[in-house]
Structure formats: structure tokens, C-alpha cells
């Protein structure tokens, strides 16, 4: 059975891009969210195997969402999608429990590598 993925990003364009990469490579994108709060809710509903999480988002940002999700499920696997120059935030996210990170603009290979490693 294919791994279930939840894609979180405030830009529909980015969501579509990630969804495309993953679904072409055998993953099943079971849900999308455009902010942290919705991401937490969707996580509870869908129980995905992995989450790709943007950092800068309205309502609740990616780091806040990681913290919330980790409270619900300490074993949650979350992959941060960061932009350049967000080193400090990525570190915060990893301390909060994120497994790995990728940096925009990303190459499909990098996304797949990170997802595979995080699921290993």
C-alpha cells in the first residue's frame, strides 16, 4: 500500500508541485492544508504517514503546527519545506521534532530522497 502524505503549504502552486512529484512516484497524497491550523486538524482526521510542512503560513506557522502535531502523535514524521535564509526556523522545527527539511526551490530528487529517508 502506498504511503499516505499530507501536503501543507499556503501557496496552492507549491502544493500542486509537491503533490505532482509525490504522486508520480507512488505516494498517495491524501490531503492538503493551506495553514498550520488546518494541517493539525487534517492530521488527526487522515493519520498520514508523512507530512510536508511549509514554514511561513498564516494562522499557525509550520513550527507551531509541528509542535501541535507532535503532541497528538509523538511519532509523526514531518518534513519541513523551507525557503532560503530560514536557518533559525528550520532548527526550531527540528528541535520541535521535524525529521528532515528541504529547501525551495527544490528538485524532485531531493524531495523524494528526504521522504524516503524520513519513512525509513
Amino acid at each position: 500500500m502506498a504511503y499516505k502524505v499530507l501536503v501543507v503549504d499556503d501557496a496552492g502552486f507549491m502544493r500542486m508541485m509537491i503533490k505532482d512529484i509525490l504522486s508520480k512516484n507512488g505516494y498517495q497524497v491524501v490531503g492538503e492544508a493551506e495553514n498550520g491550523q488546518k494541517a493539525v486538524k487534517k492530521y488527526q482526521e487522515l493519520k498520514p504517514d508523512i507530512v510536508t510542512m511549509d514554514i511561513t503560513m498564516p494562522e499557525l506557522d509550520g513550527i507551531g503546527a509541528v509542535k501541535e502535531i507532535k503532541k497528538i502523535d509523538p511519532n509523526a514524521r514531518i518534513l519541513m519545506c523551507s525557503a532560503m535564509g530560514q536557518q533559525a526556523m528550520v532548527i526550531d522545527a527540528i528541535q520541535a521534532g521535524a525529521k528532515d527539511f528541504i529547501v525551495k526551490p527544490f528538485k524532485p530528487e531531493r524531495v523524494l530522497e528526504a521522504v524516503t529517508k524520513a519513512l525509513a
Partner: protein, 658 residues
């Protein structure tokens, strides 16, 4: 996968974000204090940047990136929103709009952004002081100081593995520092990272090429380490090798650095040329102005001296001499001042360390830091970090109790760790206080007896303070496992010896059940110290005040002998005596025999020893000069000082004197 599939979606969203940019900029113009608007603008620019970079529209990405830099400054209130800035940002938005529309019609940005980038750059430099002042050097050589040596030696004695691990980060990685952070994070779960090349701070600041070296003390095997590290993306373990036996050379010979040549596999480490990063100090320009003024005054007075020489006017000579005296004193003060840096540099790394440790141990800790602005000599700052880390870890691990325990005792669940620095006269006092369980006297006693540090007889004569002080004794360590936080299995004796090498001292006070307080006292600067000047026969020596406990006088008849060792009785305690004239081989002492002698009681490794001298001259501030390379490392001599009359006096080094 073609980007064209996304083009329409991209254009749609890009236009939306441009709209937000325009709207929010207008809002901001109306109300420059509107933080919400700044956040919105930032987010819109940021999202646009990510999208366009992914689509390969590099000019849009670059422009939004540069905008972000300025917006970030604005968000952090480092700059204020001005009419100029508003103009500039609108100009940027216009340029973005043009580019996005060009993409829509011709599938290309078709726009020259160099002009506007230049405007952004100029704005940045004009309004934000950009400081770039770090000298970088590729330094692949592992240098260990005394402190590291001690740690490693003890770890070796306890059969822990000491590995030198070379980690390489993939060249395409864009956030090297974060990968490095993940490496450190993982390693710290396996053991104790004692050293890295380049230093952690530089790695955090991404001041390394592609690889770095970490020294780890652990009970894990090489395979276990490699397995954990290889789970991290974009990270490759190049080498893991045992750090060979560090030979037991004496501290004098080791000086402060030693090259580890036994790292079996690292070619680079051997080849590594020592491009030692020269120490630099960032200086407040006003201090330099002061220096210039003083030098100016000096030149004026020099001219006056030449005039006096021609006119023979003695009263003017006196006046000029006084002037020069004042100027040189001021010069000294300012030059010393230039060497001073705020302790903030060291303190800044503690909040995260405390947070991580507390989390790891399941404790809640409130870290209070005071006196971050307190200034210390640059050389002291570099050396004080390690001992402080040790004390803080010690407090968190052994001092502050677990949540349940604190609840049981009726204490607030959150423990408090207070770190403070302040200046007192010519000293800097650093306190590390916690409201934990304090030090258990009975435990200390039994441990000290068990380890053979003291005998039951000695113990009976000791007061509470002296007993608590035993925790600083070599060989006394409350940590039984290396994996202990404060652990490394190394005791506080390393902390004390480090601080003593800085001409300072460390003491502990503890109230059982209420907490403990470590007090570090350091001289303001290493270059100037308070010393007691003494006369030994015809010669004058300086003894650093930091080493002195008290002085007393003695009559020749009161010197007793116990098994060839001269001693005296001081307040019911037997104090061993050392004749300075003898250890310093002072010639012609026959002419200086007298009934009345003086004793300077100094402390060396927890023991008090009385130094017999002929005369106490008095306390004095002295500037330490080196004896030069030719006479370096004379045992018992820490350096020389030039006295008021121009003669040179030697400064005794109690640690190596006898």
C-alpha cells in the same frame, strides 16, 4: 516534468500576491506602526520568491529575496518605515508586476533589475550598518587545550571511546548550518561532543567549507555512530577514527595547544597548515578617538619637553612631567578598555543549551541571566566558556530536582537557574546559582573518604565550607556515568584548575534542600593584576593576590621542624613552610638574617603553604610582561613587571614554584 503545466496557476497566484503587496504597502504608508501590514508584505514577498524560484524565474526570485532582507530589518524594528523606503518598495512591486506580465505574454521576465537591485543595496548600506569583520581561515587542524586534554584523559581512564569524526555535507546543500546542527544533535544523544573544528560557533554561522571534524566521547561503537549519522540527509560520514592516546606531557610543555598527530586516517589533519585565525577585537570607534586624542596630547608634551631643554625652565619641566604622568595613565586605561568585550558573547549560547538539557532530562528550568553587558578581557572571555558550561550542566543535572521530587518538596515545579556577572573593583564576579537540592554534606564526606582524598582525622578538623570545597578535589566526581549531563565523568577539579590558570578562583556555597551557588572570581584583565610585592634578601618579587590567603609575621624561633619539613602553627593548624630564598636560589642571603620574618600564606591545590620572605613591601597593581621567547617557561615564574623606578621584578607562579 514541464513547468508550463503550472504557468497559469503561477500567474494567478503571483498576481494575487502582487495585489497584497500593493494593498498592504498602502496601509503601511497610512500607519507606519502597523506591524500586521509588515508581516503580510513579508509573507507575500516570501511566497512569491519561493514560487518564482521553483519556476526558474530567477530575476523575480532575486528581487523578492533582496526585498525580504529589508523587510526583515523592518520587522525587527532595526530600521523605520520612511518615505524613501516606501518609494523604493513600491518601485520594487512595479518591477515585479512588469516581470510577471512579461512572463504571461512572452514567457520570460524580460526586465533589467540591476538598477533597482542597486537601489536596494545602497539603501541597505546606508541605513543598516552591515558589519563584516570576521577573518576566516581554513583550519583543519585539531587543537586541544588543557581543558580538553583533561577531559579526554579521564575519559580514557574510564575506558570510553574517543573518536574523531569527519563529516562532509553535500555540496548542493543550501543550509549547511542546519545539517551540522542535526549532526551535533544526533551525536549528543550518543555521547559527549568535546570539540569541533572549526568551533561550534563558526559551524553555526556556516563558516566552514564542506566538512568539519568533531571529537566525541562515547560508549558506542564506530558502526553505531555511522548508522545514526547516515540517517541524516545530505550528510556523509567521511571518517571515524580513534583519537589516539594523548601523551601525558606536563602542562608546561604542552603550553596551551597540542597537535594530535595520531588520528590514523585523516590525511588532511596531518597536512593541515596551521592558518591560525588571528584574534580580533571589534572596537567602539569612540575608544579609538580617545586614544588618538591622548596620543595628540603626548606629542604636544614632547614638543614642550624639547622647548624646556632649550630654555632650562625647571618649573615647566615639573608641570610637563605631571601631564605626561596623567596621559600615560589615561592611555593605559583606554588601551585596556579596547581589549574588553561583553560577556554576552559567552552567555548567548546558554539559553538554548539549558532548554535542550532541560528537555532531555524532563525538567523545567527558568534561566535568568543578568549582567550580560559586563566586560571582560578578550583572552579571559575565550577561556571562561568551558568552565561555565560545566557548572551549568552540573546544576541542571545534579542540582535541580525532577518535577515529581520538586512537587513532593513543595517547591515550584520550575527550577530556577541564575547566571549573573558583575564587576567588583578590579574583579569580575560570575555566579551560577540554582534552587535545587544543594550539596549533601554526608555524601561528600563518604565519597571523599572512599576515594581517599582525605583521612577520617583530617575530616574531623574540617568545617562545613572546607567539606563542600572537597568537590573541587582532583579525583572527586559525583558523576558515575559518562552519559551524565554534567558527566563526562570529569569532576569540578578541571573547572577549578582552569579558573586558577586565569588567575581567578571558584568557590561554592550550598544550603541543603535550597540550592547551591558557585562563585567565580576573575581578574578584570590578565594583563594587569593585583600583586603583593615582597622582598627576599635583596630581590623583589610579586605574588599575585589571587593566590594569597593571608599574611602573617613569624619569629625565627617559632619555626618548627616535622620530619625535615619546616612548619609553623597558625591558629591551631600546622602550616608547612617554604623558604622562598631557598627555592629561588637567592645568593648572598647571609647578609639578610633576621629574627623577624614574614609568611605569605598561599593556596595551591586546596593546600595552604606559607612562603617565608624578609619583608612585605605592599600591594600594587602590576602590568604583566612576558619574559620573551628566549626565557619562556621558567618554572615558578609567571612573567615580569616593570616597577615604578624602571627596574624589573619577577612575578611568581605559585602553581609551578614548588
Amino acid at each position: 516534468m514541464s513547468v508550463n503545466e503550472y504557468l497559469n496557476l503561477f500567474l494567478e497566484e503571483a498576481r494575487e500576491h502582487l495585489q497584497i503587496l500593493n494593498d498592504e504597502l498602502l496601509k503601511l504608508e497610512q500607519n507606519p506602526a502597523d506591524k500586521g501590514a509588515v508581516d503580510e508584505i513579508f509573507r507575500a514577498a516570501h511566497t512569491l520568491k519561493g514560487m518564482s524560484a521553483t519556476m526558474g524565474y530567477e530575476k523575480i526570485a532575486e528581487l523578492t529575496h533582496k526585498m525580504e532582507n529589508i523587510l526583515d530589518e523592518l520587522r525587527e524594528s532595526k530600521i523605520v518605515f520612511s518615505e524613501n523606503l516606501s518609494e523604493l518598495l513600491f518601485k520594487c512591486v512595479d518591477a515585479l508586476e512588469t516581470m510577471v506580465e512579461n512572463v504571461a505574454t512572452e514567457n520570460s521576465e524580460k526586465f533589467n533589475i540591476s538598477g533597482i537591485l542597486n537601489d536596494l543595496k545602497n539603501f541597505n548600506q546606508k541605513d543598516i550598518g552591515i558589519t563584516q569583520n570576521h577573518e576566516m581561515g581554513v583550519n583543519n587542524k585539531l587543537e586541544l587545550n588543557d581543558y580538553d586534554h583533561n577531559l579526554i584523559k579521564v575519559a580514557q581512564e574510564r575506558n570510553f571511546n574517543i573518536y574523531e569524526i569527519k563529516v562532509e555535507i553535500a555540496p548542493e546543500c543550501v543550509m549547511k548550518s542546519v545539517r551540522a546542527f542535526m549532526v551535533f544533535n544526533s551525536l549528543e544523544k550518543l555521547g559527549e561532543v568535546v570539540k569541533s573544528v572549526p568551533p561550534v560557533q563558526d559551524i553555526e554561522d556556516e563558516k566552514f567549507e564542506k566538512d568539519f571534524i568533531v571529537v566525541l566521547i562515547t560508549d558506542k561503537t564506530q558502526n553505531e555512530i555511522a548508522k545514526v549519522l547516515n540517517q541524516i540527509s545530505e550528510v556523509e560520514v567521511k571518517e571515524i577514527g580513534s583519537l589516539g592516546l594523548i601523551n601525558g606531557s606536563t602542562p608546561q610543555e604542552t603550553n596551551s595547544v597540542q597537535e594530535i598527530s595520531s588520528f590514523s586516517k585523516t590525511e588532511d589533519a596531518k597536512k593541515g597548515i596551521n592558518n591560525k585565525i588571528s584574534q580580533t577585537v571589534r572596537v567602539d570607534i569612540s575608544k579609538l578617538d580617545k586614544l588618538m586624542n591622548l596620543v595628540g596630547e603626548l606629542v604636544i608634551n614632547k614638543t614642550r619637553l624639547e622647548q624646556i631643554f632649550r630654555t632650562n625652565d625647571l618649573s615647566a619641566l615639573n608641570e610637563t612631567a605631571e601631564q605626561i604622568d596623567r596621559i600615560s595613565a589615561d592611555l593605559q586605561t583606554v588601551v585596556m578598555d579596547v581589549r574588553m568585550v561583553p560577556i554576552e558573547q559567552v552567555f548567548n549560547r546558554f539559553p538554548r543549551m539549558v532548554r535542550d538539557l532541560a528537555k532531555e532530562l524532563g525538567k523545567e528550568i527558568n534561566l535568568i541571566m543578568e549582567g550580560k553587558e559586563t566586560e571582560l578581557d578578550r583572552t579571559v572571555i575565550d577561556e571562561i566558556a568551558d568552565p561555565l558550561v560545566h557548572l551549568i550542566r552540573n546544576s541542571i543535572d545534579h542540582g535541580i530536582e525532577s518535577l515529581e521530587e520538586r512537587r513532593k518538596k513543595g517547591k515550584p515545579a520550575q527550577g530556577t537557574l541564575r547566571l549573573s556577572a558583575k564587576q567588583e573593583g578590579n574583579s569580575i564576579i560570575i555566579l551560577v546559582e540554582d534552587d535545587g537540592q544543594g550539596i549533601n554534606l554526608e555524601k561528600v564526606k563518604s565519597k571523599a573518604l572512599e576515594k581517599g582524598i582525605i583521612t577520617t582525622n583530617q575530616l574531623e578538623q574540617m568545617d562545613e565550607n572546607s567539606i563542600v570545597d572537597l568537590i573541587f578535589s582532583p579525583g572527586f566526581s559525583t558523576a558515575s556515568q559518562i552519559t551524565d549531563i554534567s558527566g563526562r565523568g570529569v569532576g569540578l577539579d578541571v573547572v577549578r584548575s582552569k579558573i586558577q590558570s586565569l588567575k581567578g578562583n571558584v568557590a561554592v556555597e550550598s544550603k541543603e534542600g535550597q540550592g547551591s551557588k558557585f562563585t567565580i572570581k576573575l581578574p578584570l584583565t590578565l594583563a594587569i593584576i593585583q600583586a603583593l610585592m615582597v622582598k627576599v634578601g635583596p630581590e623583589i618579587y610579586a605574588i599575585p593576590l589571587a593566590n594569597i590567603n593571608e599574611t602573617t609575621s613569624i619569629n625565627l624561633n617559632d619555626i618548627k621542624k616535622v620530619q625535615d619539613q619546616e612548619v609553623m602553627v597558625l591558629r591551631n593548624h600546622v602550616l608547612p613552610l617554604v623558604r622562598l630564598a631557598k627555592v629561588l636560589e637567592v645568593p648572598n642571603m647571609d647578609n639578610y638574617e633576621s629574627e623577624e620574618l614574614f609568611v605569605v600564606v598561599v593556596r595551591k591545590n586546596n593546600k595552604f603553604i606559607g612562603l617565608i620572605v624578609n619583608e612585605l613591601i605592599g600591594q600594587q597593581e602590576i602590568v604583566i610582561s612576558s619574559l620573551g621567547k628566549f626565557l619562556n617557561g621558567v618554572p615558578g615564574i609567571a612573567g615580569a613587571a616593570i616597577l615604578g623606578d624602571g627596574t624589573v621584578s619577577l612575578i611568581l607562579d605559585i602553581g609551578t614554584l614548588f
